[in-house]
Amino acid sequence: MSLPTATSLQITASRPYPELLDLPWEVPLEDWPQHHLAALPRGISRHVVRFVKLGSRVLAVKETNAEIAHREYRMLRLLNRLEVPSVQPVGVITGRTTPDGEPLNSVLITRHLQFSLPYRALYSQTLRPDTAKRAVDALAVLLVRLHLTGFYWGDVSLSNTLFRRDAGAFAAYLVDAETGELYDQVSDGQREYDLDVARTNIAGELMDVVASGALEADMDEVLAISDRIISRYRTLWGELTEPESFEKGDRWRVEARIRRLNDLGFDVGELAITTDIDGTTVRIEPKVVDAGHHSRRLLRLTGLDAEENQARRLLNDLDSYRAATERQGDDEEIVAHEWMADCFEPVQRRIPRELRGKLEPAEVFHEVLEHRWYLSERAGRDVGLEEAAQSYMGSVLPTKPDEVAVLGVDTQALPVVRTD
């Protein structure tokens, strides 16, 4: 639909969102007042991007020129229709001007992908040993799926991807389709170029995370992770596209193929099997499975990766926070994000660097909550989280055994992760 207004603002949207008209389109996005913005993480982008609260929704608004905005809007609609994991386009607004009549850039509006994280948020919130590898693995799956659909990306990177946590793994979503093109079939040259760009960008992005101090890795480790996009992609592409012919009775070969995919790290639940017309070609499409009711809900809301009991404890605290701040009517996702910013992350930041190998973050948080209860009881008043955390870091955590080595073999390869 198109909705011209008095200022000849043009709104093209897949669904009518009358609330869109209430936003200050006559102001450059960079200068939008705080009360319109939702405090969700921002990725790096070549354009100005803001997250906006609109009723119960969170929308991502990107400033760009009209042509690019319309093109990307159409592309994202196509990709959604093709069921490629990507953000959902909401609309395009053109014809923006300031009150003085100065023209402003057009905007592309997408729905913020609930519970998704830019890669930088992954590193500041998790102590999983191979988070980066898992992100890259998810990106490899996404890239294979995009190429199978005929989509040439042109700018594959962690920054142009959003990640949803998924029981230790990640699912990757395409978030920037600006350079992309849809063909009947991508050429080998296009696939190779996408891979080369992906490898370079991932290495650059990881080097940046290293430079920020949030990841301790040397160049060889960085390259090992960025090279992984190529090996994972090629293996998966081969498994998914190389035809395998067999007689109708030879069903075991489907099983064998699935097992090979299992060995590559993909669950049976992640696979879809189709046959071509003559029934000889098997294609397997990965999806993601997960486990654990509480950890899933926690993950869904906060992106935190926690064990089942830790998750239950954290969710209880989130619910208390929601009640204490009288936010029961608000979008759960937004409250959860604020809880992360107000409660969870401040506690994590208080953990001295040399004590970070002691416990997983969720476990530390759980212990701080216990400690607060103990302090409050002793003081006969409600001790705040900050005070409790400070006390805990000073008197309790240093006495704990170092658990890095006992959490499992993988953990020993854990890069020391520091929150920003």
Partner: protein, 359 residues
């Protein structure tokens, strides 16, 4: 650095009946800035991507220097797509932002440092190498992004509408920067745009494509003064050349109530009519000539543009003319125009090809 040669290079999409690029023959000199330009769907981007290795070549060859790269994967072609990856890394210094791809490629540290220094000098970024991108202006950030491509020292730069996401003002600035930078670097560059002004202001030579077929490749000056066919004549120049279908007569072409003289030999092969082209700045007000009724007068100070209509028989033809801005004819009046001597382009009415004249 190297030459680039398209040797009857053809791209036919699967299921398509007409090639997207049809037997392209084009030789680009070492260090040359060549612009591919044409309307949407003309094959300019496809041509560039064939060179980049992103599109299969279904016929003919593509060479970089003497090397046939027709089937070589993109990363082994020694080319750089500029502006494709524009993001800068906020925690890395400008030097690291420029040099990180070399680090990935295993280039020795000293070599990286030397190349980054060189590129920074060319880009005027020497004083900023130790800073973070955040401390830079928009224009400086763009130059850092260009630096990423420069330090790789590729044989050829490829740019596919690199200015399309900039606003009009920044586009003009940046196009000047890119053109002057390319000249300083002397790296062979192939640049794609749909904007003929961009093409004419940036390229050493310009190649105009239409429907997958190369129409003309020439310097901007030659292209402007000597278009090889009606399409190029109408596409290059803004406002566009007046292309008028006029009757051929004894001694020349009937130009209103006068005759534009053309030697007999030149008109020997034409039919009853001819397409006569005159650029708006080559239309001169006169007592006699082409009668044009003035619809709109656009005053620009020193100059004014007349948008008018030539009524000829049953058909109306739009005419644009540049006149003295101090005394333009009034809207609604009818005035006469003569073409400036030596600035008339004749095209065959059927084939659209240029007819050479001595005049």
């Amino acid at each position: 650095m190297a030459t680039v040669t398209y040797d009857k290079a053809t791209r036919l999409y699967p299921g398509g009946d007409k090639p997207a690029v049809d037997a392209l023959d084009l030789h680009i000199e070492d260090g040359e800035f060549l612009v591919l330009v044409g309307p949407s769907g003309c094959g300019k981007s496809t041509s560039l991507r064939m060179l980049a290795g992103l599109e299969d070549v279904n016929g003919g060859r593509i060479l970089i220097g003497d090397r046939d790269v027709t089937t070589v994967p993109p990363k082994d072609r020694d080319i750089a797509m500029v502006f494709q990856n524009y993001a800068l890394y906020p925690h890395m210094t400008v030097a690291d932002n420029m040099g990180f791809a070399l680090k990935i490629a295993g280039t020795p540290k000293d070599e990286i440092k030397r190349r980054v220094q060189e590129a920074a000098k060319i880009l005027d970024l020497e004083d900023y190498l130790a800073r973070k991108p955040k401390a830079l202006s928009g224009g400086q950030r763009q130059r850092v992004a260009m630096g990423r491509a420069i330090v790789r020292q590729p044989q050829v730069f490829l740019m596919d509408e690199p200015l399309s996401n900039l606003d009009a003002k920044l586009r003009v600035q940046t196009r000047t920067q890119i053109a002057s930078l390319q000249r300083r670097l002397g790296v062979t560059t192939v640049y794609v745009t749909h904007d003929q002004v961009e093409a004419m202001t940036m390229g050493d030579r310009v190649a105009v494509l239409k429907d997958g077929i190369l129409q003309q490749v020439d310097t901007p000056r030659r292209m402007y003064d000597h278009p090889n066919n009606v399409f190029v004549a109408g596409f290059i120049g803004s406002p566009a050349m007046n292309l008028l279908t006029l009757p051929v007569t004894e001694g020349g072409v009937l130009f209103g109530d006068s005759i534009h003289p053309v030697e007999r030999a030149a008109l020997a092969a034409t039919g009853k009519n001819i397409t006569l082209g005159v650029r708006p700045e080559d239309m001169e007000l006169a007592e006699h000539g082409l009668p044009v009724s003035v619809d709109v007068v656009e005053e620009l100070g020193a100059d004014a543009y007349i948008y008018g209509t030539l009524r000829q028989g049953e058909s109306d033809m739009p005419v644009i003319a540049r006149v003295d801005g101090r005394q333009p004819p009034a809207k609604g009046s009818t005035v006469h125009f003569q073409p400036k001597r030596g600035h008339v382009h004749l095209f065959d009415d059927n084939s659209g090809l240029r007819i050479e004249t001595t005049a």
